[in-house]
Symmetry: C2
Subunit: 244 residues, 2 copies
DNA sequence: ATAATAGTGTCTCTCAGACATTATATA
DNA sequence: TATATAATGTCTGAGAGACACTATTAT
């Protein structure tokens, strides 16, 4: 039909094709008072107007350099977290597509999962009126928009699995923190207790933390604890063991 | 604007939105004479006409029930493998999207990875003229269409990682097989030798194999080996250890 | 002192790696 | 017999779980 690639491209119109709708959804987790919470937004427009949903939306070809940047933009819009600040963990979980999940027809969404320390976003999310943090179990009991209950489960499963073999929960606590605080974060995400000595042995021998002074434990009672912060460059090469 | 969800849906036209192109690509791996190969197709149309690429294409809203089914359809079209037959492993790897990967503009592709025994597809792929099996290293040296060199790496990495903690390579050998054959498959996918006794201990204690008679080793020389086939329901709950 | 929390010592059990040894087939 | 491959025996060291014990703080 066309003789050259340039000629083909000049005549290409995406509107001529019957393509599915594509969106991005982000399951944003944090720990509030030690318990797992997730950020949900109340939908202000159709479809599912008024229902709670994961933050998400469409790719903006002008604003978003790539898929990850698009997810990061959603994360920032809802949490006010500045990219440069600290350690907002953001990773792609799975892409789901079928004819049933959206009443507008065959649609595809790429699910991301984020984990951030509450201290870093509390000020902002408190001021946002259409979004709020839900304890995870309560969120699961809501009737969410689209197939977001399924997406919630997928994100939660990823969170749990990675906690068993990486130091992912480090992204849920603000530095500096005690090893006990970090262990409690691990236990909440893993949904089971961890033996203290084993935890300390592994987390310290991994050399992913550096000391950051000393401080009293939460509650102000007990022996002074050593404080830690993530070591520089502890980014993602954090896979070594198998917990639980 | 609209008062009810139904009214909104009645007036919804996807063509009114500026959405990116969405495709599916499948990295299909097999072992030929013990070496890792990947199936590539020579593109017959623009863009990248004449270049080698991963099998893939667009979702067909009528034919495809969901994303996985779409990937399965691509797999079947190129390999002739019947879904019902045996164990074609197919899993989603990652979704990539940006403005550069496709000259037609901002585009998104969901990458799948498949692993099948060569014996199951040899007859069919031999007859297909626009597709051929490439040794993995040679494929990497080709100049592939789009960002398929990157995709190839992502799929290869997933293959390698999962080999370390699942029995994924079981999908690369035809039953019945000897433990030595299975070990060689593991070693090729893992790119390093495995200690024989350790391998046998773990693979047998996982109880994912059942005995399937006895046979001479390849080459016809040596002690009679026990043959095995995957145990029914060894599907995917195959994660237990950490090899290497 | 007492309660509370931080941090350590150390035993045991499991299991991977290493490697020697035995068993059984063909030529 | 020699050669090749299958399959097992067993020692060692690393590390996780268990749990008792010591150390240090506030009240």
């Amino acid at each position: 039909m066309y003789q050259t690639e340039q000629e083909y491209l000049d005549n290409y119109r995406i509107q001529n094709y019957d393509i599915p709708l594509l969106s991005i959804d982000v399951a944003i987790f944090t720990l509030i008072a030690g318990r797992l919470h997730i950020l949900l937004v109340e939908r202000g427009s159709f479809p599912f107007k008024g229902a709670w949903a994961l933050p998400g939306g469409f790719i903006n070809k002008q604003l978003d350099e790539n898929l990850h940047a698009c997810a990061l933009r959603k994360l920032e819009e809802k949490t006010g977290v500045a990219i440069s600040t600290a350690l907002p963990h953001l990773e792609q979980v799975e892409t789901v597509g079928n004819a049933e999940r959206d009443p507008r027809g065959w649609s595809v969404t790429t699910l991301y999962m984020a984990l951030i320390p509450y201290a870093q976003v509390k000020g902002f999310t408190d001021t946002v009126t259409d979004a709020r943090w839900w304890p995870f179990d309560e969120a699961k009991a809501l009737s969410l928009a689209f197939d977001h209950e399924t997406l919630l489960d997928k994100a939660r499963t990823r969170l749990k699995n990675k906690t068993a073999y990486t130091v992912l929960p480090i992204h849920a606590v603000s530095a500096p923190f005690t090893l006990t605080q970090l262990q409690q974060a691990f236990e909440e995400l893993l949904e089971k207790p961890i033996e203290k000595k084993s935890f300390r042995r592994r987390i310290l021998s991994a050399e992913l933390l550096e000391e950051a002074g000393q401080g009293l434990p939460e509650g102000g009672l007990g022996r002074i604890a050593t404080l830690y912060r993530p070591a520089p460059g502890c980014g993602e090469h954090t896979f070594v063991w198998s917990l639980g």
